[in-house]
Structure formats: C-alpha cells, structure tokens
Symmetry: C2
Subunit: 123 residues, 2 copies
C-alpha cells in the first residue's frame, strides 16, 4: 500500500522559521510546490518567463506592484501573476504567504539579487 | 500591455453560491485551477488516476478517509492526496475548502455518481 500522505498545518510550519523572503517548501502536488514565506519590506522587480505564480495571503497584508499599479492582498485573498508579468511584492509589516508554483521557480525570477533564495528548502 | 490580473477574495466568492459538493473555479495558474467548495456530509470513495489533488481547509473541519484511516483537516491545514490513492471526504458540518488540481479533474474521479459535478464552472 502507498504511504499515507501527512497533513500540513501552516502555523506549525511557520513556527519553524523566522527568515523573511526565503520560501520554504511544505508540500508537492505533481510537479508543483506549495511554499510558505514571511515577507516584509520591499522585494525586487522581477518576472517569471516560463510560469504563472500564485500568492495566497494567510496573515497580514501584501502589496504586489504591477506595471499597471499595486494590488493589495489581505488574509483570505489570492492573486495569480501571469507568466512574463513584471511584479514586485512588498509589505509594510510582515505578511505570511502561501506560494504555489512549479518545482524549480527562482524567487527573483529573471533577476539575480542578494534576495535570490536557495531552491527546494523544505520545512 | 498584458491585462492585469484581478485578486480573488475567498469570502466574497463563497457569498456567491450555497451549493455543496460543486467546486467553483476562482483562478487558473498555467493548466491548474483553484476551486472553492462547500462540503458537508459524506462523499463517495474515489481516486484520481492521473493526478495528485490538494485540499486546503479555509473554514470548518474536513475529514478525508484513506484506506489507512482518516485524516482530519481544520482551517489552516492542507493535504495532498497522491494520484491513484482512494479517498473519501466527509464533514459533519459544512467545511469551506480550497482545491488545487489540474484543469479537467472530475470531482468523483473514477466513479460516476449523482455527486459528479460539472467541470469548469467559474464563480
């Protein structure tokens, strides 16, 4: 029999790390990953040329600047950034966020920055 | 310039339908869909032979029976059911759930039932 899957509790996983802008993988579905991230301050403008990217806010408030203007997400709200669309997340105080994207997506997309985080770090 | 994406508020979308066991699409990411569902009572045992399936509980409590036993999910918890694994969701009182799965997944998987819901219904 296959190994039974284990449920994931977001708060329990957040209790295991404090770093910001370093997404942590909590689950995989096919070739996609679910990642938790703590976001505060301003990220870099970037884009993902090969994939859409999903932001779901679990706690706090996250702004995502687009070239057309900012979108403000609060807990219980989500946004899918279309592939190739430049965006810049920022948050005045820490936002807790669930990201959904294919395995291997680099957080800073086409930009290399000190904010570029290592891939595939599980928590 | 590309059309800017629109954010989705889960509570606002839930206010638009009352039906249970009829997932409603709220967003697409690549060839995946995010769907909201109200689940109460007992579903049918089924499996999805071609894909994993993700349940994220937003409100209430959802049990998912597996052949190895039940997994109980509360708000802020998620479970990925591996492809080919038989499962049966049920809830004593209504649970509000976010599903993530590829476009075209039938809610009852390999089983045809009166609970089989139409595909690709957006809200």
């Amino acid at each position: 029999m296959k190994t039974s899957p284990t449920k994931v509790n977001f708060n329990q996983k957040f209790s295991l790390f404090e770093e910001q802008w370093r997404p942590k993988v909590i689950a995989e579905m096919n070739n996609y990953q679910f990642k938790l991230a703590r976001l505060e301050g301003e990220f870099v403008w970037h884009q993902h040329d090969d994939t859409d990217e999903t932001f779901i806010v679990l706690e706090g408030e996250l702004s995502i600047d687009l070239e057309s203007g900012p979108v403000v997400l609060r807990a219980g709200e989500m946004l899918v950034i279309p592939k190739g669309m430049r965006h810049r997340p920022h948050a005045t105080t820490e936002a807790k966020v669930l990201l959904v994207e294919p395995v291997g997506v680099v957080n800073t997309g086409d930009v290399e920055s000190e904010l570029t985080a290592p891939q595939d770090v599980w928590v």
